[in-house]
Structure formats: C-alpha cells, structure tokens
Symmetry: C2
Subunit: 699 residues, 2 copies
C-alpha cells in the first residue's frame, strides 16, 4: 500500500502545478491594454525583478554560509549528512514560490486594469486567476519538495521513519529562513515606499495617490509585488511545509515501536495536503458570477469557493483517517475538524475587529473626531482586545485536538492531534491563498489605471476588487496566524522528541515552568516578538526616511516635474528602497537564528523549550494585535474616505491617516513576520539540538 500513498502525494503536487500553469496561460491570454499601461507595467516588473535578484543574491550568501556551518556540524556527527542539502532545498523552493508569485502578479496587473475597463467581473477573473497561480504554485512546490525528499530518504537512502522526518524538518528551517528574509525585506520595502510616497506626495506636495509625478509611485507599486506577493508566497510556503512535516514527525513519535503505523501516520498530513489540493481546485470552479455582478455578489462567489473546498476536505478527511489509521484512531478526525473550524473562526474574529461593517472599526473611525492621539489609543486598544477571542478559539482547538484524539491516554497521540489541526487548517491553502493574493494584483491594477489616466470607473472597479480582497485577506490571516501557533507547538514537541532520542530520561513531562531554566527561557522567548517587532518597525522608519529625502530632492531639483513636463527618476527610488530594505532585513533574521543557539548553549535544552513556549504565546498575541490594529486603522480611514466623519480632506481624515501610517508597518511588516519568527526559532533549535545537548552551561 505504501507506494500508492507516495504516488497519491506526487499526483497531488503535479496536479497543483499543472493547474497553476493553466491559470497562468489564462492570465496571459488577456490583453495588457494601452502602450502607456504596458510601459508602466514593464517598469514595475523590472523594478520587482531587480529587487528580487539582489535579495536572492544576499540570501544566497547566507545560505552558502549556513551550508558550510551545517556541513561542518554534519562532519562532526552533530547532524545527519542530509541536513545541509535539505536546508538548501527548503530555501530554494520557498524563494521560488515567491518568485513565481511575483512574476505572475506583475504580468497580471496591467491585464487586470485593462479587463476592468470592460467590467468588474472580468477584472475579478484575471486577478483571481493570478492569485490562483500563486496559491497552487505554493502548495504544488511545497508538496513536491516533501514528496521528492520523502522518496529519496525512504527508497534511496532506506532511512527509517524517524530518520526521514528528522531530515525533513531541516528543510523547514531553510524554508523559514528564506521566508523571514522575504517577509521582512519585502515588508520594509513596501512600507518604506508607501510611507515615503504618501508623506511627501500626498501630504507635502498635495498630489493624489498613485500620481505619475510622484517619484516614489513606481517603488510603491513594486513594493506591493515584492512584499505582499513575493513575501507572502515565501511565507505561506513555509507555513504549509512546516505544518505538514511537523505533523509527520509527531506521527512518527506517536506510534513509535510500530513501523507500519509510523509510516501511515507520517503519510496522513501529506495525503491530506494532496486531497486539499483537489478540493481547492474544485472550489475555484465555483468562483464565478454573472457578467453584471455587484461587489456583494462577488464576495459571495469567492466565499462559495473557499467554503466549498473546506466542506469537501472536511468530508474527505474522515474516510482518509478511518481507513488508513484504522478504526481505533478515527477520533483523530476531530483534530482536523477542530483545526478547520478554528481557522474559519479566527478569520471571522479578524474580520469583525477590522472590517468597517462592524462596530469596532466604526467606533475607531469616530475617535478621529478628537484627533490623532485618540484614534491611535483606540486602535492600539482594539488590537490588544482582539487577542482574546483567537486565544480562546485556539485554546479550545488544542483541547479538542489533544484530548479527543486520546491525549490523556497517550500524550504523543494528543500532540499529533494538535499538529493535524494545523494541517487541517492549511489543507485548502491553494484556494484561500488565491483569494488572498489577488488583492495586491488589484491594488497594482488600480495604480496602473491611475497612472495611465484611464476612465475613473476603472479605478472604481479596481478599488472595489481591492477592498473585496481586504475582507477575504482577513480569513487568510486567520489561517496563517492560527496555523503558525499550532505548528509552533508541534515543532516544540518535535524538539523534545529529538532531545529524548539523545537523552532518554527527558520526556514531555520534563519541562516544568517552575524549573528556573524553563522559566528564564519563557521570559526571553516572550520578549523576542517584542524586540523583533521593534526592530522591523524601526527599520521601516529608517528606510522611509531615506525615501522621503530622495523624493523631496527630486521635487526640488527636477524642473517641470510638478507641471508634468518632466519625468521623475522612478528607478532611483526603487533602488533606494531596495538598498535600505536589504540592509535592514539582515539583523532581525540573524537574531532569529542566533538567539535560540545562544539560549541553548547557556540555558541548555530546558531553556530552549521555555523560550519556544514563551515566543509562541507572545508571538501569537503580538501578531494578532499588530495585524488587527493595522487593519482597523486602514479600514477606519477608508470608512472616513467613504464620506463619514467629514470625509476626505477633513481634520478627522488627517487623524485617520496618522493611524493608517502607524498601522502600515504593524500589519504588513512586523505582524506577519512574527508568524515566521516563532516557527524559525523552533526549526533552528531542532537543527542545533545535538550541539546543545553536548554543550551548555546550565541544566
């Protein structure tokens, strides 16, 4: 039976990639529009290409250094020889996911704008197809990477189950490192360009958003692609792969002593991923609507697709678990279901707190009446308060996944249940990512429409698509944050398994919070997301400042620019953003890699487990807090722009713009990076576990 399972996984991966290619062809079959649109799209494309090239060059150096370090450790017997190679492939595929996403998004932006000249629905089709390319590339490459390694390790190197998962966890570290670079670098780029363009263009020079006279306007649009698209692609590749392999590892641990069951438990998350791909593809066919649809109907069309996929996978997971793991383990199905439902509910909670159709954001908008200070306090409070519901949801999901899957009888099986919940949550990533990734495409299309001087209704349509994307993105965020927390927990368990394999007396029960090493680790871990958020926010500030200076310089020195007689030097701003964001992305990532090693060497593995638990708890909170504060400020501003509380240009609007500017690095740089951070910490700890077991000061 084994080989059929492996084939099934391969088929899933290939299916996703084929579907992505079909979607890409569909996107390319549309017309790019006028010459001016083509030209603008080309400059955005070349800017994004140039940035990614430089980013990947730097990342390459990092990977080369890490390869040498890991190689040396392998030589000294601290790692298996597969590790350095697995690490590199994880990074490669993660980077490739981002690259493909960026390629299609920059190809689709002008096409979406052009399609919007015909109608809203046609625009949606182009943008959503581009989003689908991204979504299915991520899951396809993820599953391909997993299945290739799985085949190699099992059938070529003949490793046993725990040897396989142990090596596979390392490509998680590669993927996470790449993802962090992409998210942080891209996040800094996009926000520096955005803030810089707004501060000088909108506020100082008084020209509208996306005005072609603004020297930072191309950089701003490049930013959407390298941050929101390439960054998100690498990020979700990491989430997807991380959840599957950590679940596989825990499956092996849960059924230790029974090789056949180990193999099956390991295969379950992979097959579920493959099944999820099929369900997602089916779902995309239901994202369609009549030619003259309004926005509300479009949202329904999108939701229909994602909901259908979720229901299909929920139905398919039951026989999968029942027949493969056997009757006595069918209760693990509840874990999958708990994960799926928790993901949806966290998404709903995000939507409630950040959408201007609900009370919190409406109330936040009203705080603009008393100035920027009150809207800032209100937004911070809103974000902090919004952490409570997701905590309770995740808590219940963990309780259900752990105990229903027999946790009190077998801790290992309970932890496997928690990991399965994360896999359940991410199984339909293909389609949820598609509904998420089309937003930046629509955003870019709007920019191109503005810069090319298309009819106002085109911009209205792209704006409608964009704001629609904000709602669907809320669900996507719920899945990303929720799965990050569950995957991080699974990885902590894998770490302990790894320690247990070297020090058999150490078990899941060995890490009491009253052990001062665990406790100090907990404090340090809880602190890391704070420090990380601070560093990334500061980085955005610094990078934005350099853009501000450059834009001011161009406005002053290029004659005829304001009159539209001379072109600004767009490339200079793109270059500026590239250089500063690449410089700034290094420190946070290095910290995420160095701290777990140092904590391990000083406080031993007790300290590491404490650190991971602390970072997961506080990282989950900070990620939700920052995403929701940022989202609510953004939508409160849009709510005012729609004519409430004085509308555009009023003092209230100015106050809301301050809120939105504060929220930008919150929701697009720091918040999403924290999701990756908490997993990378665990991955690094796992890779360096053997070193820490041998060398440590305390413990």
């Amino acid at each position: 039976m084994d080989i059929y399972l492996v084939i099934a996984i391969f088929v899933g991966a290939i299916l996703a990639l084929v579907f992505a290619v079909i979607m890409a062809k569909r996107v390319m079959s549309f017309d790019e529009g006028t010459e001016r649109m083509k030209k603008i799209s080309a400059s955005i494309r070349s800017g994004a290409n140039a940035y990614l090239k430089r980013q990947y060059t730097i990342v390459l150096i990092f990977f080369a250094v890490m390869f040498v370090i890991l190689g040396a450790m392998a030589i000294f017997g601290l790692l298996t020889p597969y590790v350095p190679f697995a690490f590199v492939t994880g990074g490669f595929f993660s980077g490739l996911s981002g690259f493909v996403g960026m390629k299609i998004a920059t190809a689709a932006n002008a096409r979406t704008a052009n399609a919007c000249r015909t109608g809203l629905n046609k625009g949606l089709r182009v943008a959503f197809s581009a989003g689908s390319v991204m979504g299915f590339t991520v899951v396809g490459l993820g599953l391909l990477d997993i299945s290739i390694w799985f085949t190699l390790l099992k059938y070529v190197f003949n490793l046993d189950a725990s040897g396989i998962t142990s090596a596979m966890l390392t490509f998680g570290m590669g993927a996470s490192s790449m993802a962090l670079f992409a998210r942080v670098g891209g996040g800094i780029f996009t926000k520096a360009a955005d803030v810089g363009a707004d501060l000088v263009g909108k506020v100082e020079a008084g020209i509208p958003e996306d005005d072609p006279r603004n020297p930072a306007v191309i950089a701003d649009n490049v930013g959407d692609n390298v941050g929101d698209v390439a960054g998100m692609g690498a990020d979700l590749y990491e989430s997807y792969v991380g959840s599957v392999i950590s679940c596989a590892a825990l499956g092996v641990a849960a059924f230790s002593g029974n090789g056949d069951m180990q193999f099956k438990a390991m295969a379950i998350p992979m097959i579920m991923a493959a099944l999820g791909i099929v369900c997602s593809i089916i779902g995309t066919f239901f994202v369609r609507t009549g030619e003259k649809a309004e926005q509300k109907l479009l949202l329904k069309a999108l939701s229909r697709g994602t909901n259908l996929s979720a229901i299909l996978i929920a139905a398919a997971a039951f026989p999968l678990i029942y027949f493969i793991l056997g009757q006595e383990n069918w209760t693990l199905y509840w874990s999958v279901l708990a994960g799926l439902i928790a993901g949806v509910l966290i998404g709903k909670s995000t939507e409630y707190f950040t959408s201007d159709t609900y009370k919190p954001t409406k109330k936040l908008a009203s705080k603009s009446e008393t100035g920027s200070a009150t809207i800032i306090i209100g937004g911070l409070g809103l974000g902090m308060l919004s952490t409570a519901l997701p905590i309770i949801i995740i808590g219940i999901a963990v309780l259900v996944s752990f105990f229903v899957s027999g946790g009190s009888a077998s801790v290992g099986k309970g932890l496997y249940g928690i990991a399965l919940a994360a896999v359940g949550m991410l199984s339909t990533l293909g389609i949820t990512l598609a509904t998420d990734a089309y937003g930046p495409v629509a955003d870019n299309a709007g920019g191109i429409a503005e810069m090319s001087g298309l009819e106002p209704e085109v911009r209205e349509r792209t704006d409608a698509l964009d704001s629609l994307g904000n709602t669907t993105a809320a669900t996507g965020k719920g899945f990303a944050i929720g799965s990050a927390a569950l995957t991080a927990l699974a990885l902590i368990a894998s770490y302990i398994d790894k320690i247990h394999s070297m020090e058999p007396s150490v078990t899941y029960d060995s890490f009491s919070v009253m052990n001062p090493l665990v406790l100090i680790g907990l404090f340090i871990g809880a602190c890391l997301p704070f420090v990380f958020a601070a560093l990334t926010m500061d980085a955005v500030g610094r990078a934005a400042q350099s853009v501000v200076i450059e834009v001011r310089r161009q406005f002053k020195n290029i004659k005829g620019l304001m009159q539209g007689k001379a072109d600004p030097d767009y490339a200079k701003c793109v270059d500026m953003c590239s250089r500063s964001s690449l410089k700034e992305m290094i420190l946070p990532t290095v910290i995420a890699i160095v701290v777990p090693i140092v904590v391990g060497l000083v406080l031993g593995f007790y300290g590491v487990v404490g650190m991971l638990a602390g970072a997961t708890a506080s990282g989950f909170l900070m990620a939700i807090f920052m995403s929701n504060s940022g989202g609510a400020w953004d939508n409160a501003k849009k709510f005012i722009e729609a004519g409430n509380h004085g509308g555009k240009g009023s003092d209230q609007h100015k106050a809301a713009v301050v809120g939105d500017t504060v929220g930008d690095p919150f929701k697009d740089t720091s918040g999403p990076s924290i999701n990756i951070l908490i997993k990378l910490l665990s991955m690094v700890s796992i890779v360096f576990a053997a070193l820490v077991v041998q060398v440590h000061i305390f413990g």
Copy 2:
C-alpha cells in the same frame, strides 16, 4: 530567640510610623502662602477627599461581597476561618496607605509652592518630607499589618508555620484588590482630567496649562493626588507586603520538616524589611544640600540618600542571614544582593530609554520632524525594544538567586532565594518611595503657583523639582516592575505548595509546558495583560471624552469665563472624572478576580499555573513596554519644549504632544496596573485553590 525577632519587626514598623509622623509635622510647620494659594489647595484637597470617599464606598461594597463569599467558603471548609478577616485587613491597610499619602500630598502642595518662593532647596525639603511621609507610612503600615497578624496567628491561635503563611497570603489578596482599584480608578481619573484639560484648554481654546480659566484644571490637580499619590501608595503597599509574605511562605516550604528553621526562614524577610526601614531613615538624613544648590546637586543629594540606604542594607543583610539561618545557608545572601542590584539596573535601563539626556529619547524627539505618525511608531518601537535589557537582568537575577542559594540541590531553597531577591529589591522602599512620591507634590505645587499668579521663577523651580522627580521615578519604576515579576514567581511557587498540601503527588515538577492544560493556561495568561491594557486605555478614552464635552459646555455657557470675569465650575469636572473613573475601574478588577477562578474550574490547577506563568512573563513585558514608551514620549516632548527641533508651538511640538497624549494612559494607567494584576491573579488563585482542587472539568 523567637520573641526577639518578633519584637524587632514590631520596632521596625513603629519606627517607620513615628518617622512618618515627624516628617508630617515638619511639612505642616511650613506656611501655605497667600490666601489664593490656600483657597486653591483647599479645593484640590476637597476634590481629592470627595473622590476617595466615593471610591472607598464602592470598594467597601466589593469587600463586603468578597467577605461573604470567603466566609461561605470558610464555612464549607474550603478556607481557614482567618482568611476573610485577613483579606479585609489587607485591603484596609492598603487603602489607608493611599489615604495618608493623599492627605499629606494635598497638605504639602501649597506649602511646596510657597517654599519655592524662597528657593529651590527649601522647596525640595518640603516636597521630599511629604514624600517621606508617604514612603514610611507605606512600609510602616505594611510591616505593622504583617507583625500583628503574625503575632495573632502564632501566639494567640497557635498555628504552625505553614498555617501562618497560608493565612497571611490572603491579606495579600485584599491588598492587591484594593491596589488595583486605586491604581486603575486613580489612573483613569488623572489621565481623563489631564487629557480633557489639554485637549480643550490647550489645543482648542489656546490657553496655557494650569490656567485658572480652564474648568478641568482643579480636576487635573486632584488627579495627580488620587492617581499618582493615593494609587501609588496602595500599589506599593501591595508590592511590599506581597514580597514579604510570599517570601515567608516559600521559606516555610523550603525548610519543611524543621519547625525551628521554618520559623527563622519566615522571619528573615520581615526582619530584612525592618532593617530596611532603619537604613532608609538613615538615608533620608543625607538628602540635604547647600541653600543655593542647582538641580544637578539636588539630584546628587537624592541619589546619595537612596544609594547609601541600599549599601547599608546590603551590608546588614549578610550577618542577618549568616547568624539567623546558619553558616550552611549563607549563600542565600547572594539572592538579596542579586535582587538589590537587579532593581538598580532595571532602573538604570528605564532611565536610559526614557531620559532625554540619552540617545533613544533624543532620537525619538527627532522623529517629530516627519510628523506624529513617525514619532508614534518610534515610541512604540522604543518601548518594545526596551524590554530586552530588563528581561536579561531579571533572568540573571533569577539564575543567581536560584542556583547560588543551592537550587539544584533543593528546588525549594532556590525558590526561596528568588523570593528573597524581591525582598532585597524592596527593602529600602521607604526612601525610594519618598524620592518617587515627591514628584506629584512638586507637580501640584507648580499648578498652584500658576493658578495663584506667583512669580515665574517659582514655577521654574517647581518644574525643576518635577523633572528631577522624573529621573528618580525611573528608578522607582524599575524596583516596582522588577519586584512584581519576582514576587509573582514566588507566588506561583506558593500556589504549587498549596496544591501539593492537598494533592501530595503534585510537585514543582508537575507543570510541564507540554501539558496542554498548562499550555492553554499559558496562552490565556499571556493574553490577560493585553486585554487589561486595552480595557484601561479604552476607559481613559471614554472618561476623557466626557470631560471634553463638559469643558466645552462650560466654555460656551459660562459668560465672561474666557475674560477671567467669571469662575468656571471646577467641582462639576471633578465630579465628572470621579463618576466615570469609578464606573470604569470595576470591570478590569472584576476580570482579574474572575478569570483565575474560571480558568481553575475549567482547566484545573494545571491551567492555573500555566496562566500565572504566562501572565507574569507577558505582564512584565507589557508593563515595561508601556511605561517606557510613555516616559520617552513625555520626555521627548519636554526636550522639544526646551527649544530643540523648533521648540514650543512648532509642528514638531504638536507631533510630540500627540505622542505624549498616547503615552499618558500607557505610563500612568495601564502600565503600572499590570504590575498589580499579575500578583492579584496569583493571590486569587491561592485563595481559591481548595475549590479548584475539588471542582474542575479538565486535568
């Protein structure tokens, strides 16, 4: 020997109270100044009195309800019969500390202003004496409460050591509840009045701060007294008592099986507190300087006093521990030293991040150049980054206290060491609180000087005293936050001891972070400070809004007010602030009491321990983050007002004012309340432990 120790503790308490009375007489011997000054001071006094009266009435109802609940539990055998009474006395003394502090502060404000007409040094003497009254009242009442109960329980009711500490922990819960009411209620009052007065008076009407035409100006000054003085008094009473009794409880646990040693270990923190009082009194005599001293010399004078006290207690603690606990336990001395040093270092770190003589705040001020959004992002980043150093300091202090005091051999002794570190940190509270509490007195004096139309140099002198107070307050904050974290850890250990006494199989090792109940508790606990901060910030916002509306109404309706021909209705604003702050203080406090009970009933004691650990870690971080962000914004604004970056009235200044307004609830409402929150959670858990052991759904 026993009885001598008890007498020594009593003597310490009486000494502190006598010294407080002497200092109070000294304050009263100064003149209140002109008739106008007397009148203003009287209205502030009556406003503060009225507020406290109403606050205590509400708190009384709360205590009555809790007394009935605890009484019922005692009848059902879930608590000892002493608990309800101990609970009430804790609350009573905590409230009394706040009340006395408020009394002396409102008596000293006009006297300080009047003394400043003569010179800076005389002003310092009055204000510092008032601060000393507060400082020594807090420690005197604290130690008195402890020694009375100790005597009663030991010599009248003949309880054994663990019976004594078990009952005494309950008055910690009383003190913490009272402290939370006082901090939250007072914190909301003071910031609502402050923000309200500023937003309408300074920004809308364009009149200067503390202008008598502003209807909220008296409320603002009342706020300083009920928030910064009465709130702080109740708060630090709680910290002081909490650290001593939790240490006593752990001493009993550490030497279980040896009644004599248990008694001695229990007495150590109390005697150290008594010794600390003596050292603090000696220290105060060194706070003096020549008649014509500048600000720099004054700061030196203050530091000389606190440093000397710290050195004295460091020297005195060694023989104390060596002779009472015996040669084999002398290493516990390192714990005391570690605590003292950690307190100083955290204070230094606070000073570095928030004082405008150092780089971070200077850089923050420069961010005002690009507007309010950048200074807000910068301040948030600064606060988040500033958590790293204190975490490392506390980590090292915990490591040293635990391991040097023999933790690897005996976990109990190690935990006792951690608790001793907290006691060491707070032993000189008498003088550190004096240097902290004189700040609000000087602030009030400045308000009176302004409103009475005294010469400008008087206001300059009170401002100098006030800003001096900001620096010393930084150290005070370091001690408050650091001791809160250590005390909370000690209380978690006490909680486990309590569980262990009912379920002997449960030990310090039973609470692995991989136990899903512990883990979910950890997540919920980590979330509580976020929710708590959100609730208190929102409360300030709502209360401020009501003040804004009232002030606007008075400006509009009272004819001749702006021309200075008619008096505003000050009392109405005071009443407004009182009502809204009292209404708003209830929910956060109730949450702090209800959540640990609910978590216990659902997730059992495993969940509770996780919750306490999570709340301590994230609460420590949030308290530092919010205090330091707030402090840095405040001082960045002052730095600009001193003539940098455009100075007063510039756009940069306006941006900095936005930062300061956001920082107000951060540093004066939410931040300091979190310190109390994390201890109250533990205290409540301890009191309801027996209930939770019998009734719980999971675990």
